[in-house]
Subunit: 199 residues, 2 copies
DNA sequence: GCTAACTTGGAATGACCGTTCCAAGATAGG
DNA sequence: CCTATCTTGGAACGGTCATTCCAAGTTAGC
């Protein structure tokens, strides 16, 4: 017989994601969350718990809605190195232009924040890293099967490299890095991974 | 005929650097700075100005005292790729063990913080990136002169790569990344840069 | 030892922090 | 329509934020 929620928690969480992503969770007060979502403090706390739990929820949402689809597409892409190149080209474009320009990546940003040590948060950071690495690894495997990759290459190490590179791109983009420079940095790695005929 | 300072501003700033580095500038209150330095609020504000100017000063200090010496040593190292390898080995060791373990890099951490858009701060971030890239570029040049590098490589792009990689290492280390994985990621890049005989 | 110039400790400021609480409102089953 | 149960708006909480201010203390030149 109870009353029912007067709002959609899913929509609200998406708005929180945008807020934390653009402004940074640490420097965003509950008052701003209230304003952005239109919820009252009561509803917020009743639905999501305190700020730390809200931040963890937003982070999980970001991973599922923003990162995961891209990772899955990369892992399923059979083209090999061109798939990796495409991934980074889209990444740099998204980080430097469009509606999310200079927002960086919420997961990357969280690495340096205050919540980084909270278990609920750390778990998402690690899950993100594992998923990114796995996708890179899958793409590199496809590349090797197509003979695109230099002989004897360690695919696990290469996947870690590409993941670290993505973090670097995300980080620098938030501080205004030049898109062309980021792309050049990406290209140099992939050139090094590529099998060369003459040499 | 005035009174003279009862403390050494240089020592105080070093203590602030440690505090901001370990805990994060955004979440560190002035009260903590007062406690760590032993100064009074009056002396703090009279000497360094407000928090934003203090943060910029600490960042400059970090760049000069922590980063610059390492960058200079790298740039002056004539060994080529082994110099780069050594740089990253020491970096990973410093980030994952010892008294600064899991602190990350103050400059890297600042990329995602609230002060990242303040001109005084942005300037240091850019200076850091330029110095790091230049040092990497110098090391790669030495490597090419010694025939260690694969033919036709773009040294500027390679330097950007290595800089981005360093940011990735710094970032992930602050969230507890495994040293061995980080080193593997580094190795894969350098292997790709290396000239190979047979192939 | 006097005084002008500066520093220092510490109280006070108003704004904002995350969180709690409660009275009033809304809902659905009986 | 009634009532048990949940939601909602909004006030209120104690704490902390960065910053300011001032009276008291300290110094160096005269």
């Amino acid at each position: 017989m109870p009353d029912v929620k007067h709002f959609d928690p899913d929509v609200a969480l998406d708005q929180v994601v945008r807020l934390f992503w653009e402004r940074g969770a640490d420097v965003t007060g509950i008052a701003e969350v209230v304003q952005a979502t239109g919820l009252s403090r009561s509803s917020l706390y009743a639905t999501f718990g305190g700020k730390e739990r809200l931040q963890a929820a937003a982070l999980r949402r970001y991973l599922e809605r923003q990162s995961r689809p891209v990772f899955d597409a990369l892992a399923a892409d059979e083209r090999g190195l061109p798939a990796v190149t495409g991934f980074f080209e889209r990444l740099v474009a998204a980080r430097c232009t469009g509606e999310h320009a200079r927002w960086g990546c919420l997961v990357t940003n969280t690495h340096t924040g205050a919540a980084r040590e909270a278990p609920e948060v750390r778990q998402v950071l690690d899950a993100h890293h594992a998923a990114l690495r796995a996708a890179m690894r899958a793409a590199l495997e496809a590349a090797r099967n197509r003979g695109q990759v230099r002989p004897g290459m360690d695919l696990d190490a290469g996947a870690e490299t590409l993941a670290l590179l993505a973090y670097g791109v995300n980080l620098r983009s938030r501080a205004g890095a030049d898109a062309a420079e980021l792309l050049a940095g990406v290209r140099a790695v992939l050139d090094g991974f590529t099998r060369t005929e003459e040499r």
